[in-house]
Amino acid sequence: MLQGINIACVRGDRELFKNIHFSLEPGSLLQVRGANGSGKTSLLRMLCGLSIPAAGEIHWNGVSIRTANEEYFANVTYIGHLGGVKDDLTVIENLQISSALSGFEISINEAHQALGKIGLSGREYLPVKVLSQGQRRRVALARLLVCKTKLWILDEPFVALDVAAVQLMREILELHLQHEGMVVMTTHQEIDIQSSSITQLQLA
């Protein structure tokens, strides 16, 4: 279970948000909403332990993520707006290496399967720099298919995706929620994900 207790965020002199509380049970999704510059990405980065909240605590199964460091990170997949995809590596190298670095070593076969599912078959051996924005995004999202983590933290996962890919993404998220996974995501779009528990968190 992921819990945010009284979180506040300060950027420079400005306080972006404060007194943020939430708790996320297995099988549920938390949608973070807010205008540009309201601190959505900052909140996600805090959840990833990349930055420290100005106040408050983030707990994973009752333990602060700062002390539960490695046990927590073994359960998290984060896909930020940068994606974390290397231009000079091929699609398949990207997937294999990035999942290995997050603790899941996968075989060539598994990588092929995942890339096929996300609609990149035939492009496995192309360097990422020749792909379009949407395809790059798919390379990043393919990690969700191979990394068996419980908590997905996604920053604008639908950006740059075409209709088919959005539909695919929705199915992937639904499946993850059915399997007791947890999702925290930001998006501007209305999402019609079929799931029993979707909570919204509005940042001012």
């Binding site: 332990g49 990349l50 073994a74 940068l82 995809v85 290397k86 190298e93 290995a100 670095l101």
Partner: protein
């Protein structure tokens, strides 16, 4: 894990071969400039050789430092490394090792050729190579701290040399000192073991400080 990160960085270096070659040619050019500026007198060149090669090696390894984390920073892979369940220090150690293989080791291999330009006797050449072999990893390890601290800053490249070059001084002194001692017929083992000691100490502490600096820079 260490294997994956080293493999990744080497793969990237192979895809960007020109970056590696630029460092190497820079090293060669700087060393070759000295005879042109002080004259071709062999006795003078021979006494200068250890210092010149070492200073050039320092500057050349400086050149590539900036790339150590900045590419990963820009495309978001550095973020991914920081939230990986592995310890960041270990990943940093892997990256530093890959950086040394790509930018330090070529200098070590090229050094004998440059030593010949300066008419170094053959046993001095081998001392030069050994001193570079244990000295250049220290440059990568200490340099990583500077690279991590200046990540994403304007003029990071110049700044990193300002931060790191003073810290390189002991390595420079003992590295070129070892070769000079050998040429003067004095025992040079003490020099080399001191560089070895620096290497051990920086192996233990530098990745940890670098990881810490990365966290500060990315926060």
């Amino acid at each position: 894990m260490l294997v994956w990160i080293i493999k990744r960085d080497l793969l990237l270096a192979v895809r960007r071969r020109s970056d590696v070659l630029i460092t190497l040619f820079f090293f060669v050019i700087v060393v070759s400039l000295f005879p042109l500026s002080v004259g071709p007198e062999m006795n003078l060149l021979r006494t200068m050789a250890p210092g010149v090669v070492w200073v050039a090696a320092l500057l050349a390894s400086m050149l590539s430092l900036n790339r150590m984390f900045s590419n990963d920073y820009q495309d978001g892979t550095l973020e991914q490394m920081m939230i990986s369940p592995q310890s960041l220090s270990l990943l940093v150690l892997g990256k530093t090792f890959a950086h040394w293989l790509v930018s330090g080791l070529p200098l070590v291999l090229m050094a004998p050729v440059l030593g010949i330009q300066y008419d170094l006797p053959s046993d001095a050449l081998s001392v030069l190579v050994i001193s570079l072999l244990i000295g250049t990893p220290v440059l990568s390890l200490i340099g990583a701290i500077g690279a991590a601290l200046t990540l994403g800053l304007r003029g990071g490249g110049v700044l990193v040399s300002l931060l790191v070059l003073p810290l390189y001084i002991p390595i420079l002194i003992f590295g070129s000192g070892a070769v000079e001692a050998n040429m003067a017929g004095i025992d040079f083992a003490a020099h080399l073991s001191l560089i070895g000691a620096f290497l051990l100490v920086s192996l233990v502490f530098a990745p940890w400080v670098t990881a810490w600096s990365l966290r500060v820079s990315l926060e």
